[in-house]
């Protein structure tokens, strides 16, 4: 099996830091892509076109050429959402993996037309102990004044391979709020790229990752600020158990002309074992004077004082740790308005922390 290199950072660092791109070996890439039929769409809001032709020619990054081509040529789910509603309603897309539907190559395009409002929840899950393969592209265009809440939930097993590339194009006065819950995948590799083209565009990204055993998360978030007074906020909260490993690569790129733009990025990793590993590369690139950019990252275990306090209230060490992790995740989960979904996520987090 050849070594796959993917998810390259926009700026290179020394090779021996092992973070520019990720090298994966022995990934079972299905040669023949079978039909995927376990999909449930609950639509209250959008015009949904299934199996439509999707134009991905605007994709700038993607995971790498191979993964982008696979989506282009072999997608077994193509969905195009055309949003026209001015009232915020929810559209839910649920992919359920089972023995017959264990490979998903999906391509979702979301076009939020001018001044529309919508919530889109995309969920990948399975109820069986399966090794699944997922490779997808989500390509979002928010036109002038459009507002989108997008929730992506990865609840696949820890045996799985989960590859996803997200691209957002934000026009004037548009706003996209993301909430990404990343729990599944032996390898869970995400490329997230936002281009804030239009004046006053806002992009908020809130992410949770939770790793156990030998899970590996490689998150490559890139925000390019072109328009004046644009705003990007990236908040990533994670926890790693056992031998789990995380690479977080976050780039806020202030391009010339993005006057009065603001960018904030915070990544915090709770290490729950002495063999878990956290690698972070939070980059600020700046070609414009009149901007404000901040980033911060932190890593470490839960403070003993905090644990002691909770345990003094009658909780066991394990319960106290779970409580602390969930408390850190809670500020991300607050962004999900659908209580049923939030509850499902909390149960999964609880199970995976056991």
């Amino acid at each position: 099996m050849e070594i796959l290199k993917l998810n390259e950072t926009p700026v290179r660092t020394a090779r021996n830091f092992n973070i520019n791109n990720i090298k994966l070996e022995n990934i079972n890439i299905p040669e023949k892509i079978e039909k995927f039929s376990n999909i449930n769409i609950i639509n209250n809001n959008s015009k949904v076109e299934i199996d439509s032709i999707i134009d991905n020619s605007n994709i700038v990054y993607g995971l790498n050429e191979f993964f982008s081509n696979q989506v282009e040529k072999d997608s077994n789910q193509k969905i195009r959402l055309n949003i026209n509603s001015k009232i915020n309603k929810e559209t839910r897309i649920e992919y359920k993996f089972d023995k017959e539907n264990n490979t998903l190559i999906d391509n979702i395009q979301i076009i939020a037309n001018e001044n529309t409002k919508s919530t889109i929840i995309i969920k990948y899950f399975t109820e069986e102990d399966l090794e699944i393969f997922h490779n997808g592209i989500i390509n979002v265009i928010a036109k002038n004044g459009a507002e989108l809440d997008i929730v992506i939930i990865n609840l696949t097993t820890i045996k799985s391979n989960n590859f996803i590339a997200i691209q957002n194009t934000l026009k004037e006065n548009s706003k996209i709020n993301y909430c990404i819950i990343d729990l599944g995948g032996k390898n869970s590799i995400t490329n997230y790229y936002s281009k804030l083209e239009g004046k006053l565009a806002i992009n908020n990204v809130n992410t949770i990752y939770l790793g156990k055993e030998n899970q590996l998360f490689d998150l490559n978030y890139i925000a390019e600020l072109n328009g004046e007074k644009t705003n990007i906020n990236i908040e990533v909260q994670g926890a790693l158990k056992d031998n789990a490993k995380k690479h977080f690569k976050g780039t806020i790129d202030f391009k010339k002309g993005c006057k009065k733009a603001k960018g904030n990025e915070n990544e915090a990793c709770v290490l729950l074992s002495d063999t878990a590993k956290s690698l972070a590369l939070p980059m600020l690139l700046c070609s414009e004077e009149d901007v404000e950019g901040n980033h911060s990252t932190s890593a470490g275990k839960i403070s003993e004082k905090e644990l002691f306090y909770i345990m003094s209230r009658g909780f066991s060490l394990k319960e106290a740790m779970k409580l602390m992790v969930k408390a850190k995740f809670n500020k991300i989960l607050e962004n999900i308005k659908n209580e049923e979904i939030k509850e499902q996520i909390l149960i999964e987090i609880d199970n995976r922390l056991d």
């Binding site: 290179r12 973070i19 202030f254 990793c269 700046c286 009149d290 980033h295 911060s296 470490g300």
Partner: protein, 466 residues
């Protein structure tokens, strides 16, 4: 809002060009014959000659870095790697030839020696032309000499440490350095000796289309302490000059070393320098760096915290003006328990200059109960400059406290407004903010350098309101 003009460094003093006179200048390029000739000229012992030739092989095998600024303009076929000035090593300034002495006079080196230094080394092109140290330090067993003398007088000590902290295959320009190194300083501070007044080495490159490859090797033995200052400058020429020095620092148990650098190379210089320190149990190394010169700089001092309780601090400022690309930063490896690192990096970009802060913090599996705090601030003074922050944070165990913070932006309008509401003029408010920005660095510098740095950050007003 008025635009302030922060003046770039007045280079009149540094730009004094002496006639390109030398005793010996090796032909341009980099071949086995050239390396052998340098070795012969320097009367190397056999082991050093072998090391040079092995390093040349390594240089030829290694690739240029795939990251960082573009250094493709560097053509080793156009660089003379060894230029011996027309003087031998002297220990009084009177013996130094007039033109060379005048240069160092204007740079204020002999004056500083009298006032505030315990010892001085002065290198001109490829050779050290002056070296001297106060007698009381000699009596205490402190060794401060040029590197060539150390190779001959203290062969075992040098052989044991030379290119061991920085291995020759570390990167391409380390291999180049090892092949053609010349000059530099050797310092040994014996156990328990505290050197209270700093030692300073000054490196001056006068010859056009040449390189300087000095090697600095400092061993601070158990319980000893030292403050070492390194200064460097060169006049500006039209073609590129190259600086690929190497600094190896060994800080033994309970020892302390402060290594201060004021780098003020001319704007045709490619500064591809390498600095590393190995820090043992309960020892500490502090780096204080002011980076003002060079066309391109790639410099990332590194502390390897090998001993339990070892500490390091990095305090650095870069000031990039027109045509400059300063890619600086810091690397630290935590290799033992209870180790700690504190990084405070600042940069100012103006007139189209580019500053990049590039760093690595690695806390290894065995570095339990270690702490690392990193802070970097970048100030943009106009809209044609650039500033990047590229930190890698590699945490391999849970029992750590690690945090990294970075900020980028212009001078805050709110801060100016606040100071103006307290009665300051707008210009004074801005001047105060920029000086305040640089203050955490300038307060760590020896007084005369801090004054010089504040003079460099000289504020003026330009343009009209609106």
């Amino acid at each position: 809002m008025k635009k302030i003009n922060i003046e770039e460094i007045n280079r009149n003093i540094y730009n004094i060009k002496n006639k390109d006179e030398y005793d010996f200048k090796i032909k341009k390029g980099l071949t086995k014959e050239i390396v052998e000739e340098i070795s012969k000229q320097k009367d190397d012992p056999e082991w050093m000659k072998e090391l040079r030739l092995k390093a040349l092989e390594t240089y030829n095998k290694l690739e240029l870095p795939t990251w960082g600024p573009d250094i493709s303009e560097l053509d080793m076929d156009e660089i003379a790697t060894y230029v011996r000035p027309k003087t031998k090593l002297n220990n009084t300034w009177e013996d130094v030839p007039e033109d060379i002495k005048n240069t160092f006079d204007k740079l204020g080196i002999p004056e500083a020696e009298k006032r505030s230094l315990a010892g001085v080394g002065a290198q001109y092109d490829s050779e050290v032309v002056y070296h001297s140290m106060k007698e009381e330090l000699m009596k205490q067993g402190v060794i401060y000499t040029d590197m060539e003398s150390a190779v001959k007088k203290y062969p075992e000590l040098v052989k044991q440490h030379f290119m061991k902290c920085v291995p020759i295959n570390d990167h391409k320009f380390v291999a180049l350095h090892a092949a053609v190194w010349s000059g530099g300083s050797f310092v040994y501070v014996p156990k328990g000796v505290k050197v209270d007044i700093p030692l300073q080495s000054y490196f001056r490159l006068n010859s056009p289309e040449s390189g300087q490859f000095e090697h600095t090797l400092i061993i601070v033995d158990e319980g000893a302490s030292l403050h070492f200052i390194e200064g460097c400058s060169a006049p500006k020429y039209n073609k590129v000059n190259l600086h690929a020095g190497c600094v190896e620092l060994y800080v033994k148990e309970n020892a302390y070393l402060r290594y201060s650098t004021i780098e003020n190379w001319s704007k045709n210089m490619l500064n591809l320098n390498t600095k590393k320190a190995i820090v043992e149990k309960n020892a500490q190394v502090d780096w204080v760096t002011g980076s003002f010169g060079s066309k391109i700089s790639m410099l990332y001092p590194m502390s390897i915290l090998n001993g339990e309780g070892a500490k390091t601090e990095y305090t650095g400022i870069s000031f990039a003006g027109e045509g400059q690309n300063l890619d600086n930063g810091f690397k630290v490896i935590h290799n033992n328990k209870n180790t700690s690192s504190v990084v405070n990096a600042k940069s100012i970009s103006k007139n189209g200059g580019k500053c990049t802060y590039r760093s690595l913090v690695r806390i290894n599996e065995n570095a339990k109960n270690s702490k690392s705090i990193v802070s970097c601030d970048s100030l943009m003074l106009d809209d044609i400059s650039m500033s990047d922050t590229i930190p890698v944070n590699d945490i391999r165990t849970d029992d750590v406290e690690f945090s990294h913070e970075a900020k980028i932006g212009k001078i805050s309008d709110k801060a100016i407004f606040y100071l103006m509401s307290r009665g300051l003029s707008e210009e004074d408010a801005k001047a105060m903010i920029v000086r305040g920005f640089a203050y955490p660095i300038s307060k760590e510098l020896p007084v005369e350098y801090a004054v010089e740095m504040n003079n460099l950050i000289n504020l003026e007003l330009e343009g009209a309101i609106g």
